[in-house]
Symmetry: D2
Subunit: 256 residues, 4 copies
């Protein structure tokens, strides 16, 4: 079940996932408007964040919930990238948007709900662009590896894995962050593995400490929901941290 013959890093711009230093992807759950994303990008960059995340198309449980503002939001992210130099990461849900993503996005994220979407994974196997493959929220280790295989089989081995918490019987946290998956997936696949402590806990006050634990478990990076005004986030505000706290997490990480 080992995808790669040897450990492999994934390059994104000047950064390298799986290299010497862990990397931080930060940004809001959803891109809300032009000023919001550019403001967050600038401030996150100042604090040392490496890449910018932001939801453009949002997979939401209910069809009546906010679904993201779509392609227009992506143009704002591209602008934020031009201003800050941060490569951008956003989720692809529909192959209809693939060409647009190929042109503008630096890392294509596959969300938890789409980890079993094999036609989507196969299509990403044929492109030349890094893919961030989140673990399905009830995916076994074996299934997650196999989903990475669907991409790698097509020839694209620029895969970054992301542990983001699994479903359990307890509702105290939004998900159950499975940090043991970090060393397991690194060994089983040879790929870089990052951790999402925001979805992994669902609680702002746990993001910092679990970031630290994730890095100790060997994570090659973090993806964190951060906002200049966390309480005003249109989605996931309970798990979104402020820019100051983001800075502390990055500072602590660099100090290690």
């Amino acid at each position: 079940m080992r995808i790669l013959e040897e450990d492999r890093t994934v390059k994104v711009g000047n950064y390298e996932f799986g290299g010497d230093k862990p990397l931080v992807i930060a940004g809001p759950c959803s891109v809300e408007n032009r000023d919001q994303i550019i403001d967050i990008a600038k401030k996150a960059r100042e604090k040392g964040a490496h890449l910018l995340r932001g939801g453009v198309f949002k997979p939401r449980t209910s069809p009546y919930d906010f679904q993201g503002i779509g392609i227009e939001a992506l143009t704002y992210m591209v602008e934020a990238k031009q201003i800050t130099g941060m490569p951008i990461v956003t989720e692809l849900m529909d192959l209809a948007h693939l060409d647009y993503f190929l042109e503008h996005v630096d890392v294509i994220q596959i969300g938890s709900r789409n980890m079993y979407n094999y036609p989507l994974l196969k299509a990403l196997g044929e492109i030349d662009k890094p893919v961030l493959l989140k673990r399905g929220f009830s995916a076994t280790i074996k299934e997650w590896i196999c989903s990475a295989e669907y991409i790698a089989k097509g020839g694209n081995t620029q895969i970054i894995l992301c542990e983001r918490g699994i479903r359990s019987f307890d509702s105290y946290t939004r998900n159950m962050l499975d940090l043991t998956a970090v060393p397991i997936m690194k060994k089983e696949t040879g790929l870089p593995v990052i951790v999402d402590p925001s979805h992994g806990t669902g609680r702002r006050e746990l993001v910092g400490i679990m970031s630290k634990a994730a890095l100790a478990a060997g994570a090659d990076g973090l993806i964190i929901e951060a906002h200049t005004h966390p309480d005003l986030s249109v989605s996931d505000k309970e798990q979104t941290i402020g820019i100051e706290e983001l800075g502390q997490i990055i500072h602590q990480m660099t100090a290690l």
Copy 2:
């Protein structure tokens, strides 16, 4: 969270899901070749099965496992339908095949792995064709209802729900069949609900008794993996029953 104002039935050919009588969808896990599916269809029809199922595109955990024989398999199913008069049910994984399905398939199945595939669900909301929506294997009741809403919101309310077992901590059975979901989903949505005791247990010897329990829980039908030579099935053979046993299940159901 109630999709429909009133209870609703779904018509497929001369049959009506959610009407007075439970209906049985039977057939092999995978369509293997022309003779296999036609032979199974004839014999299942003789035993009283109402619709024919058969996997044409198979979502498999590993990209190296058998993936189904694709569109060619569908032509065999169409032939089996012409011979037996049984409406056909098969799984759609990729919108690229939608037109073909619209022309030839009577019920479009959305498998467990795609219950959160919202672009797919939205596309099915705009067609005029029954959809069999399987429960995701870790989907909550609320998420399952919301996925049905994604379809219904587009205008297509011809939705048949299917409980097929959820993931649990025990590996004795392949999945944990949640029969309580039957009365819950009937009440919450007003839609017909059927049960898949094959995936729901993963064990041939439990299919008969759990079919009986499903009907007692109010199921509007069953979807059962059956084969003329179960032990020779190319996939899911442990949970596939023979034609004789299929006949007994249908006989017992009719007698109730």
Copy 3:
């Protein structure tokens, strides 16, 4: 993993669990006072219930919740038995009470939380009294069988197994009723298996339909929380049904 060489029934007074007819154990979650339990017993008996249940010592998650009224409550149950002729079933939590239970109780219940309490199980292996062994709420099939083995190994094979729902990721129902466990445990152990649809669903409106499904799955009986004034129950009122509905369930069962 088969405990017994052959299928075995368990006699309680004139009743036989695992015999031709399913049996119903009914009564309140907690014995609240003398009049309450005698009144419920009389009315449940009129409706055809066979045995009387009632909580005397209650294992509660919080030490600050009502813990049952103890030995005094047992004297009221004994009186209810004298009046109605119904054998009584209640939970033993502490071996300190064993002698008292041996003298007065007809079936000693081991609750879900104590399924792994091996010293308790071993002690019950050495007595001559039927034991109702509830499944732990996260017990695998194998663990449940092994717990029954702890009792049987000591020589006491008068064991009635009870499926009462397991823990899952969904909070729509209090527990996930695993009806597939009924045929599995009957085959694996040869012992009678009953179902608790009250704890298994946690919702009053689901008790009737899931009782029906349990019997269709082959259950040898039911244990149901019933009360003359369900809404006034001091514990578990959401899952407690009234006497009229109890009568309907028993009537329907007898008609099968």
Copy 4:
């Protein structure tokens, strides 16, 4: 749900759980014989382990598996303590042994299977001796807190909590180590929290890395299964590490 007004440490001999430095409890799953436990104790002590663990009474799923060698094993542990000065930790399953434990054992461990054994917890509330309360393998955060409350309510607040992995749908690891529980339980109870990476992963090769992650999550200590000849352990050998590796873990911990 906060047990204590303020954060509290638990003293065991000269050590303090919840103080400035994390502590390591190490030793074999089972005490096998006199020489084994004394040899392990000496070598673990040399490597810097603070307390000695060893199973004397073993709760095993099957009554036919090795159950520990009982009180005799405890005399060997006492001897190992005299030789090395290490306080000893072992599991109490049966109140019949309480007096013996009170006299000889320094920390009374309550295992995962007994977290809901309320009569046992209540009895421990009335003693003056530290209790190591392991989390039930399917216990919610709230239930775990409540079990600690059962002890604290009696007056004994010398409680050390231990996260040891919970049950999940994946069998890749023996349990799912829930490190997020560490900061949560520290905040909710004010008590020291340690982590068991041996049961928490079930795999020897993951013990070191997850120990590091546990400490980063704020754990006040570790309890590790270690043996001079791990492959010869009579129980849990897959998760038992050797003395050299134990030394590395302690060395790394001290360096932090």
